[in-house]
Subunit: 346 residues, 2 copies
């Protein structure tokens, strides 16, 4: 709990002076003022996050948190739990979608076992297992309050290590068969829309599967009664270890003034947990894509965040976060590399 | 006219066999089927365009067509006409937004004077001037029918040269103070929505300026009476030389089975001209962003094209097209570089 509290205390607000000087520079570049739209807003926000007019976001890291879910016993996923470990091996070999995008955008990937059922002995995998999969949320809490805090602190530690190595922007991604169920549960607790508006097909349920998933979530919320303003309580009762880990990465990024990318539904649920723990974290988070999952859009509305693009993606791993880092890079290259009007020859 | 006719004759349909084999491969990659959404559709489309299951889009070219507009005398732009040449010099020095994005995405830029008022002697500028600015469309046609055809053929020639050099994807962009007016005129002729739904603020008109711009377009359409199903007639009467040039690039790309990126409103108007000349061209065009200009959205609806992202941009130059090439590259990297399910270890 000490590391979490220390981290929260370090989180402050966006740096207004840097944002103003960034805006002034943007208005002097060789383009009509404001004509790069959201890219300009993004450059100003990153200036506020980093407290630098011309920030460096060239050292890109991406963290994939991996955890399993006891609730898969209830048939909430179209894929078997063994896929979690199989995909981790795929990440380690470089064969997954997230690896492909990371190569394109020059992003270093870290993969952490924070809650997998299977143990994978590979020195490229960060060994940070807290629990070999959460417990079935239909029967009781996913994990203890202590384990929930620990998952967040693992995320903080991993992020701080990357920041110490010079990384200046961090993506969040995950792997964990079944994890749209805890994510939708978290969002439902906080946003209180009907489950029909929040719960989606995940990686490929059919209609019957979707109805079962909603029924499972409804019952899990009744059984566990998570407190809607207590992020750690919600995480412990209906969350997941990888979700806690990502929330920790977000809190650490904010504490160290580094932008952290939100990916899809699960990463979004982590942002919600981080927000409940410390609302100011939100200023340091950059939404990337809007996922197919309906709860993701509701979440963005709730947090008043605007996704960059909607490509109908629903893969996870942080694939959207990495594509979004390309857009962040574009916005910062604009403010750093474009000519100013006084150099124009006319 | 001969080159244009020869080019049109070469345009055929998407290659179904390549699209099917691309789809089969996508479904075997280590991800839930369809979970990369639009990126998968894009990979299939590019397979159809190139007639290759695993196409190469690594050799990226971008063409900026430059032309001036007699109609600027009517106060339709917030910037003076001298900015056209000043920005061309900026492109040549590498200081514009389009240069910054081209560096990020490793795209070669070609800049062509197809209709500038000012002559710039620089051997990095393609000298293809047809006319030193269009005539004022409030008084009569922008150019002759012969000049309109010539502008399209200049575009074809430049694109064919790049393709001969090995370029396998081409972006379209432009510079020309005042060119949202001819573009909106073209779109109004074809789509026949009210001008209120089509005409926008361009690079920064105020409300009064917008009303004047609409009045100018209304009168220009009355004076010139362009024929709504004749692309060359519309181009000659209310278009622009850079618009014709971009339409030529699109037709050449289609003829040689290379994807061509649509940028914003002006590039979109060029796509409409190309479509009227040969409807099958549309299969070979890839829309990138959705611009702030209202006519752009209407155009996409009319052509049944789906933009990749909406970042509230309205700069032109092809800035959106180049960001879009990054997404195209992502889609092709996915189909070429990801592992297949049979290699998974579980």
């Amino acid at each position: 709990m000490e590391l979490l509290e220390k981290t929260i205390k370090k989180i402050s607000s966006l740096d207004q002076a840097s944002m103003e000087s960034a805006q002034t520079r943007l208005d002097n570049l060789t383009k009509p003022p404001g004509s790069l739209g959201y890219l300009e807003e993004l450059a100003v926000k990153i200036a506020g996050i980093t407290a630098e007019t011309l920030p460096d976001v060239s050292q890109k890291a991406h963290i994939i948190m991996v955890g399993d879910h006891g609730v898969v016993k209830e048939g909430v996923s179209a894929f078997p739990q063994t896929i979690t470990a199989a995909m981790v091996k795929n990440f380690l070999k470089g064969g997954a979608a997230v690896n492909v995008f990371a190569n394109q955008y020059n992003v270093d990937i870290s993969i952490a076992d924070i809650g997998m059922v299977e143990e994978i002995k590979d020195n490229k995998l960060i060994q940070a297992n807290i629990k070999r999969g959460t417990d079935n949320i239909l029967k009781g809490p996913a994990m203890s309050h202590k384990e929930a805090v620990e998952s967040i602190e693992v995320g903080i530690k991993i992020a701080e290590q990357l920041i110490a190595q010079g990384k200046n922007i961090i993506g969040t991604g995950e792997m964990g068969i079944g994890n749209t169920t805890p994510s939708s549960s978290i969002i439902s607790v906080v946003i209180e829309n009907s489950l029909d508006e929040i719960v989606g097909y995940g990686t490929g349920l059919d209609k019957k599967g979707l109805e079962n998933k909603k029924a499972v979530i409804k019952k899990a919320l009744e059984v566990n009664k998570p407190q809607k303003d207590d992020g750690v309580d919600i995480l412990a009762k209906v969350g997941g270890l990888e979700i806690g880990g990502m929330a920790g990465v977000m809190l650490a990024g904010a504490a160290h003034r580094k932008p952290v990318m939100i990916d899809g539904l699960i990463s979004g649920a982590a942002a919600l947990i981080a927000y409940l723990i410390e609302p100011d974290v939100i200023n340091f988070l950059i939404p990337s894509h809007k996922s197919v999952e309906p709860g993701h859009d509701k979440l963005y509305q709730y947090l008043n965040l605007r996704p960059m693009f909607d490509l109908n993606m629903r893969l996870g791993e942080g694939t959207g976060a990495i594509l979004g880092m390309g857009i962040v890079e574009s916005s910062i290259r604009i403010i750093k590399e474009m000519a100013t009007f006084d150099t124009l020859d006319f």
